[in-house]
């Protein structure tokens, strides 16, 4: 705090605790690699998420071509298995979750009036570890290519790309039945779990501890509330997956018997552990989407959110109940009548808080002066499409019905309505809503409306017929089907729908690129919105707020603009010391690279490739050294002095 107040905007290159000069680049690629700025981290998360979203989309279009007609032979059954595995894993862990993490990173500090997250370097660590996990999972394609070219031939020689489904059921995923693809999958997911847990711990501390003065918990924007609940779900749900993956890894590498049936291992154990993680994961994905919707609807209905406390508590109830319904994925495994009945009831119960939220959103629309901008179209579409997925979900909760629907396309229809009709619609609506804030540029024209039209039509043409296919008995995860089944025409329709949907999503991406290239300046508050991110410049400066706002109401900015004089926004006085900002660091990136080396080489080690065990240990050493350098580097920091004319 002793730095001179005269140095306005000058940045002193400081020595860190270990005697190395810390990076202090404010532009160029060094800046991106070493940044601890939550806004830049958000951009990298979101771009990576969109990239993998496109990858997962291409994977599924290949699948749909294969299924478009009976007895097609477009791809081999082995490739088919690999593609549906990678489609599911990619979309959940590498598509949806990083885009959501991008939203968390960009919005949470801005919405609570903070300058950054609680642990900025840990935040960068989460990003790079996520990238490492994504690379470990997808590099399997490269090794498979090398195998096809005859350069690489691991022991067993079976699937090098994971082919075990996104749920990786043991013992299929155990040693005897699958190739090193399963190792890439195990290490990839394990590393992604580290990233998710670290990020979630960071966000919980940020939301609980870094709120601006006056920002009580019941004044938090709903998106921030949903982030908080989601983060709690992540830190309590991921450990079950971590341990399941650890047990599976030990079965594969060290010959343990967790899932080895001949030695008494129980395959059902995997199912329980996986779904104790897997079902909360569903809510980890949908709760942030609900948060986005709860921000968009009030802004364009020109009304406060109807029943704010009820929406918040419903979110919390969904979070709690989300841990109590995992066995509805396992009704057909013979849990026994009591367990089945209990999980059936709890699953029905979880529809209640969800339904409450839907009524609240409709109540927000009711009597409002509705403006159908592109984000609003997505938000209204979300309510409708998500409800369709919800209804078929309630159908699954009845165990007898579920045992008919298990492993059929009916289930595929259900969760795609929830994921695309719910999560993707909300996230794209959110991108349209906050892109002007993120980039300072405003989208315009009709392309956005056309895109959402194609998305909704494509979604329904793709997934609505799947309900019928499923009830007619078409099984999931099956390479092809006979002409006599009569599934052909509907499948052709589904494939056409998938291409319409893909076209719609492509239009969204084109619209974003167009906005970035030639969008007009958006201004600070284009939507006349309610939350604190809109009082900053677009795009926000590195320190977010020149002066920390003092919050006097829920929807503080709205009351500042339109409310009584007593709600006029005030700011904390300048203490003359300037704004304390965290320093950049190389070590989050270094630990991420170490994790990547470890994941790839241990997977190859499992395939009997020489020297890979040593390389894996090398990766662990890189991680350890990185952590130590990180710790002894110290948090660092410098002081910014925004000039007074810059303040609002």
């Amino acid at each position: 705090m002793s730095q001179s107040t005269a140095e306005s905007h000058t940045l002193v290159a400081e020595k860190s605790g270990i005697g190395l000069t810390r990076p202090d680049h404010r532009s160029g690629w060094v800046d991106w690699l070493t940044t601890v700025d939550h806004k830049k981290i958000a951009v990298m998360y979101a771009l990576a998420g969109l990239f993998f979203f496109v990858v997962g989309g291409i994977e599924v279009l290949v699948l749909r071509i294969q299924l478009s007609a009976p007895e097609m032979n477009f791809i081999s059954p082995q490739t088919y298995n690999q593609l549906f595995t990678m489609h599911g894993t990619t979309m959940i862990f590498l598509g949806a979750m990083p885009i959501i993490a991008g939203f968390f990173n960009f919005l949470v500090p801005l919405q609570i009036g903070a300058r950054d997250v609680a642990f900025p370097r840990l935040n960068a660590f989460s990003l790079w570890v996520f990238m490492a996990g994504a690379i470990v999972l997808n590099i399997s394609w490269l090794f498979q290519l090398l195998q096809v070219m005859g350069i690489f031939n691991p022991e067993g020689g079976k699937d090098i790309v994971p082919a075990i489904g996104w749920f990786g059921y043991a013992p299929l995923s155990a040693g005897e039945y699958s190739g090193i693809g399963s190792d890439f999958w195990i290490f990839g997911l394990q590393i992604l779990g580290v990233a998710s847990i670290a990020a979630s711990l960071n966000f919980i501390v940020t939301i609980l501890n870094m709120r601006a003065p006056g920002m009580t918990m019941m004044r938090l924007p709903v998106f921030t509330w949903m982030t908080l609940i989601t983060s709690f779900l992540i830190i309590f749900a991921f450990p079950a997956l971590t341990i399941a993956l650890l047990e599976l890894m030990f079965d594969r590498m060290f010959g343990t018997n967790f899932f080895r049936v001949s030695e008494g291992g129980q395959p059902i154990l995997w199912q329980h552990l996986f779904w104790i993680f897997g079902h909360p994961e569903v809510y980890i994905l949908i709760l942030p989407a609900m948060g986005v919707i709860s921000e968009i609807l009030p802004a364009f209905s020109r009304k406060p959110l109807f029943g704010y406390p009820i929406i918040v508590f419903s979110g919390a109830v969904i979070g709690f109940l989300g841990f109590a319904v995992w066995s509805h994925h396992m009704f057909t495994t013979g849990l026994g009548d009591i367990a089945t009945a209990a999980f059936s009831l709890l699953t029905m119960a979880i529809a209640v808080p969800t339904g409450v939220k839907i009524f609240n959103w409709v109540g927000t629309l009711w009597g409002g002066r509705i403006k159908f901008t592109v984000p609003m179209v997505y938000a209204v579409g979300f309510i409708w499409m998500f409800m369709m997925g919800g209804f078929s979900g309630i159908m699954h909760s009845a165990a007898p019905a579920d045992s008919q629907q298990q492993d059929t396309y009916f289930v595929v229809a259900h969760f795609h309505y929830v994921i695309i009709g719910g999560i993707v619609m909300a996230l794209f609506g959110g991108i349209y809503f906050w892109l002007p804030k993120l980039t300072g540029k405003m989208w315009e024209g009709k392309l956005g409306y056309w895109a959402v039209g194609f998305v909704v039509v494509g979604l329904n043409v793709t997934f609505f017929p799947m309900h019928f296919l499923g009830l007619f008995g078409m099984p999931r995860r099956t390479h092809t089907y006979l002409a006599e089944t009569g599934f052909g025409p509907l499948n052709m329709l589904v494939t056409i729908g998938a291409f319409i949907l893909a076209f719609g999503l492509l239009m969204v991406i084109i619209d974003m690129i167009k906005t970035l290239r030639s969008g007009k300046p958006a201004g600070q508050d284009p939507w006349d919105a309610r939350t604190l991110e809109w009082i900053t410049t677009s795009p926000p400066q590195v320190h977010n707020f020149d002066k920390t706002p003092i919050v006097k109401a829920r929807d503080a900015f709205w009351y500042d603009k339109h409310g009584d004089a007593k709600y006029k926004m005030e700011y904390e006085p300048d203490d003359g010391h300037g704004i304390h900002m965290p320093s950049q660091s190389w070590f989050p990136l270094m630990t991420g690279i170490g994790m990547m080396i470890m994941g790839i080489s241990l997977s190859l080690y499992s395939g009997g490739v020489p020297f890979m065990g040593y390389l894996g240990i090398g990766g662990i050493v890189v991680v350890t050294v990185g952590v130590y350098l990180w710790l002894f580097e110290g948090p660092g920091g410098y002081h910014l002095h925004p000039e007074s004319e810059e303040s609002k």
Partner: protein
């Protein structure tokens, strides 16, 4: 560490009044509960499912030895509490002495565990591949052992930092957070000791 961050690290200006690092550690321990919960319940479920494994636990367990090592781990927690308290009072010398004690006790516990594993493997041929019980037992106790080892590393690093003058009484929160972790690892051992060792003698 700059002065500014020291001021922040004592909870000043945090909305809840709890220090960021401390809150983070509590949350991490909550998450860690789920890790151990999964491991311990896997072990107990398989024990219930297969009540008569090839190697009987009561035959191979040396309960005297495990009780002794459990007692030593408990006492290390006592020393840890003294170390944290010394740090808060600014008594560097006492902090160092107590932390050396914690590290020593932690290492003794780990030594017992290495001896136990070694004994099981070479005398009773009870390995990680011996049925489901071998797998669950070694993975669970091994994971706990890793936690203790990481704890020893953290405490040792802090101790070295204190000799180098990098850890001063201004950083007492860092010691307290390390203490929280150490106590938690201890409590987990109490649960494992009761649910895995003692229960077998009922």
């Amino acid at each position: 560490m700059s002065e500014a961050s020291v001021a922040v690290s004592h909870g000043d200006g945090s909305s809840t009044g709890i220090d960021n690092k401390k809150l983070m550690m509590w949350l991490f321990l909550g998450s860690d509960c789920m890790f151990f919960g999964t491991l311990i319940s896997t072990h107990l479920i398989y024990r219930k499912l297969y009540p008569n494994p090839e190697v009987s636990p009561t035959e191979i367990f040396s309960i005297d030895l495990t009780t002794a090592s459990s007692f030593i781990l408990l006492m290390s927690s006592f020393l840890m509490a003294l170390a944290v308290s010394a740090m808060h009072k600014g008594e560097m010398k006492s902090y160092r002495r107590m932390t050396w004690g914690v590290i020593l006790f932690g290492l003794i516990f780990l030594g017992f565990q290495v001896y136990e594993f070694n004994h099981f493997i070479h005398h009773y041929d009870f390995t990680i591949q011996s049925g489901t019980m071998g797998s669950t037992f070694y993975l669970m106790t091994g994971t706990h052992g890793c936690h203790v080892a990481i704890g020893v590393l953290i405490l040792l690093s802090q101790l070295i930092a204190s000799y180098k003058g990098k850890l001063t009484t201004a950083n007492s929160m860092d010691v307290e957070v390390a203490g929280l972790y150490w106590h938690f690892v201890d409590i987990v051992w109490i649960i494992i000791f009761s649910a895995v060792y003692l229960v077998e003698y009922l």
